[in-house]
């Protein structure tokens, strides 16, 4: 069994046919040449105007020159970051949509290769393209090194950090590629997902920087490893470290591990959606997801546990930080996953018709009846990983932290209820049902915010925030129903949605028989 897994892995990563095929078509004809010429022209324009400005000044102080060159380095790497973030998700999303569009997906899937093989091929193709773009830009950046503005390790580490961003958004493109059958919506969704990721990593890097500042750290801001994945901050964060227990872990290493984890999870999600049969592809993917969720939970706990003391002051308890990190990982991390698992089209694609609410035997199969058992298992292992990680890193788990767990689970349950209804009301295809599921979530958030705002008017923002059923766990707990209360409310809402949706579904099925 291990031998077969090894053979499959070697076949997937070494000499992947999709990787080779994509290279041939990416390099063919004049189109790529024109694109690269345009790309080089843009870089030349930016860098040329910079160097030109320096030359025009005639004489310049060496310290001032180096400061200008550092500015160039920052601007240049930020520009590259955004270019890569623009190109990489589009590459993967378009390649997957085209596979469906030309119906070649059935041909590939009737060959003895797994869904993972196809997606890894696409991902590696996009990653190679990212490196082509970076390598083309290297000579322009290297001029700055020759003038002494920055160093080779800085530049190469920054390029590697940018490539990680490319890998992350390329895997996002895979997910959005399988979500829709049209190129433009797939690319737009990939960009939207990238913006969300950018905001997430940006907030985390800013938090880390603020914490470093709070504890009196001097010199370069300590952005933490999230900074490596944040455009515009990468160059500051790549050579820094993040405390992990007693170890100062290199940011680049942590960012690499995080990117590999995240891209793997996204690949698993995408592969689950396109695998043609329920077994053994889905079974293997789901088993992998469980392992990844365990590791994610463990890693999240270690990172939060290692936050510097400055964050723990000001009335914010460590348990609250940990609890809300857990909520963010398990609760909001699930928004995209649940949408995939729990949405199916009721009429448009018969394959996805529901076969019940809960069937534990279907745990490793891709049917609707396996959604709740699989989500439960996924949350269980992530919770175990997180709580276990907290215990291993700090030697204890506070009861206050445990109060946050029902909330994280509740948001998943509530989302499943929403998606169940979205599936019932969607008469179109599967992507349509998924879009409706996403729309429902946005609408619910708006309605909740509006209603809570009206009810708590005059009591201030803190009260309104704390009463919000979905976001309330992040608020000040003295106002609302408390974090446990939020969890229970979400469970109740999810239960009502699931119960009513399932009743309606059975009614429709009965009617179709009569």
């Amino acid at each position: 069994m291990l031998g077969a897994w090894w053979q499959d892995t070697v076949k997937t990563y070494r000499g992947n046919a999709i990787f080779v095929r994509d290279f041939r078509s990416q390099m063919r004809g004049w189109k790529p040449m024109w694109f690269w010429l345009g790309y080089l022209g843009l870089i030349l324009l930016v860098v040329g105007s910079f160097y030109g400005g320096i030359m025009r000044r005639g004489t310049i102080d060496i310290a001032e020159l180096q400061s200008i060159l550092v500015g160039l380095f920052v601007g240049f790497s930020t520009l590259l970051s955004y270019l890569v973030l623009l190109v990489a998700p589009a590459l993967t999303a378009i390649s997957i949509v085209q596979e469906f569009d030309r119906k070649s997906i059935d041909l590939v899937q009737s060959a003895p290769v797994s869904a993972r093989y196809l997606l890894v091929g696409r991902l590696l193709s996009a990653y190679r393209y990212v490196w082509i773009l970076l390598m083309l830009a290297l000579p322009f950046a290297a001029v700055g090194i020759l003038m002494g503005g920055f160093t080779w390790p800085q530049l190469l580490a920054t390029f590697f950090g940018i490539s990680l961003q490319g890998l992350l958004v390329a895997s996002l493109g895979l997910v959005t590629g399988v979500m829709t059958r049209k190129i433009v919506p797939a690319v737009i969704q990939a960009y939207a997902a990238f913006v969300v990721v950018g905001i997430f990593t940006g907030i985390l890097s800013a938090m880390a920087a603020a914490m470093a500042f709070g504890r009196g750290g001097g010199g370069a801001p300590g952005f933490g490893f999230w900074g490596v994945l944040t455009p515009g901050v990468t160059q500051w964060a790549v050579l820094g470290t993040t405390p992990l227990g007693n170890w100062q872990a290199p940011n680049l290493l942590l960012a690499t591990v995080t990117t590999l984890f995240a891209s793997r999870l996204m690949m698993l999600g995408a592969a689950s959606a396109i695998a043609p049969t329920l077994t053994p592809d889905i079974g293997r993917l789901r088993a992998n997801s469980l392992v990844a969720a365990l590791l994610f939970g463990l890693m999240g706990a270690f990172l939060v546990a290692s936050l510097p003391g400055g964050m723990r002051g000001g009335g914010i308890s460590p348990a609250m930080i940990m609890g809300n990190t857990f909520n963010t990982l398990i609760g909001f991390g699930a928004i995209t996953v649940v949408n995939y698992l729990a949405c199916w089209s009721f009429i448009g694609e018969r394959k996805y018709q529901t076969n019940g609410l809960w069937n534990i035997k279907m745990l490793f199969k891709g049917t609707p009846a396996s959604v709740l058992p699989f989500l439960t298992a996924l949350m269980l292992v992530a919770t175990l990983g997180f709580v276990g990680g907290v215990f291993l890193s700090s030697g204890r788990v506070s009861p206050e932290l445990l109060l946050y767990i029902p909330w994280g689970w509740g948001i998943n349950f509530f989302l499943v209820g929403l998606c169940w209804w979205a599936s019932l009301l969607s008469t179109g295809n599967l992507p349509g049902a998924r879009r409706l599921g996403g729309l429902f979530f946005i609408l619910v958030m708006i309605i909740f915010s509006a209603v809570i705002g009206i009810i708590t008017r005059g009591e201030g923002n803190a009260a309104a925030w704390a009463w919000h059923p979905v976001l309330g766990a992040y608020g000040e707990q003295q106002y609302g129903p408390g974090v446990l209360g939020h969890g229970l409310i979400l469970w109740a809402l999810g239960g009502i949605l699931l119960f009513t949706a399932e009743r309606k579904r059975r009614k429709i099925i009965r009617a179709s028989y009569e």
Binding site: K11, G15, A17, I18, V20, R21, R24, S25, R28, R102, K103, S104, I105, D106, L107, V108, Q109, S110, A111, P112, V113, S114, P276, T277, L278, T279, P280, R350, K351, Q353, I509, S512, Y513
Partner: protein
């Protein structure tokens, strides 16, 4: 050998395929006949491991389609009712891509590609872009793709749809040749004449139910007990027609001109021999006795009429 065992597929409350069973041996060319929506494509997709059966299974060379889909995929060549071609590659690159997907060793690939191109008569297009090929050539390229890994079973879903008569004839010839090479070929179609010529077995499916399976003649014989015998004599055809009238196992007689008489005959082979002997003994100058061939279209209409009623 392909064994299909009670293959069944439900889509929610809708049953697309109901307990289909049949067995095919190497060299069999099996025509899978049914109207649009009868369940042909669903059956083929299940055999190609692209759809999970609700219950039942199929085994190819002992490998179960649900238990060992990857092993089954190594042994099948699947050609859907659409081309699914990559138009931004050359013909040899397209075949090289699928050779790699099917784990054909790198050193063997050039030889394999040359062989399948020769077999499908596309050698002269080796370096052409796929997008530049005509529809018939694209169809042949699809078939070439199915052959790169030397599969045991070819699953061809409506392979001749949209082809001109010449391309159809070429395709039929090619499939017959592949059958002679010992491959199991399952070819679906709702255009019946295109199957009749080269299939040694047919299956008729309607509303997900396999109504008949076997050789065309075998099915026809199972359908009706009456066969049409044609006697050609040098002369005295009208006299022979009258002589035959009322003889055992003769239902009707038809005079078809000065030298030909047709009869509806419901006897056994032995009765048939007796009848011919009696005609000769009666002194009629018999030049030829012929049993009229079975028309696949008639068989299909007969079989499906019952199902629809």
């Amino acid at each position: 050998m392909l064994e299909v065992l009670n293959l069944h597929k439900n889509y929610g409350s809708f049953t697309a395929v109901t307990d289909v069973s049949f067995t095919l041996e190497p060299g069999d060319v099996f025509g899978f006949i049914g109207s649009n929506g009868a369940g042909k494509t669903t059956t083929i997709k299940m055999l190609a491991t692209l759809l999970e059966p609700t219950h039942g299974t199929a085994r190819l060379d002992g490998f179960d389609i649900t238990e060992h889909p990857l092993e089954v995929r190594k042994r099948i060549g699947y050609m859907p009712d659409f081309f699914g071609l990559y138009d931004d590659v050359k013909v040899w690159e397209y075949l090289d891509y699928f050779s790699a997907l099917y784990s054909v060793p790198v050193k063997d690939r050039p030889g394999v590609i040359d062989n399948v191109l020769e077999l499908t008569d596309l050698t002269f297009k080796r370096d052409a872009m796929v997008a530049s090929l005509s529809r018939g050539m694209q169809q042949r390229l699809c078939l070439a793709r199915c052959l790169v890994h030397d599969p045991t079973l070819l699953l061809l879903d409506e392979p001749a749809s949209g082809l001109d008569p010449r391309a159809r004839a070429e395709l039929k010839e090619l499939l017959a040749e592949l059958g002679r090479m010992g491959k199991i070929i399952l070819v679906s179609s709702h255009i019946l004449p295109e199957l009749a010529d080269f299939c040694n077995k047919v299956g008729i499916i309607e509303r997900g139910n396999m109504l008949a399976f076997g050789g065309v003649d075998e099915i026809a014989r199972g359908l009706k007990s009456i066969k049409v015998l044609e006697f050609r004599v040098m002369d005295r055809a009208s006299e022979l027609s009258m002589w035959l009238h009322g003889k055992p196992n003769i239902q009707n007689t038809y005079l078809m001109g000065a030298t030909t008489v047709k009869v509806d005959f419901d006897g056994s082979h032995e009765n048939q021999v007796e009848l011919v002997r009696a005609i000769v003994n009666a002194g009629y100058p018999v030049m030829e006795v012929r049993e009229e061939g079975v028309d696949l279209e008639d068989v299909f209409l007969n079989v499906t009429q019952g199902a629809l009623n």
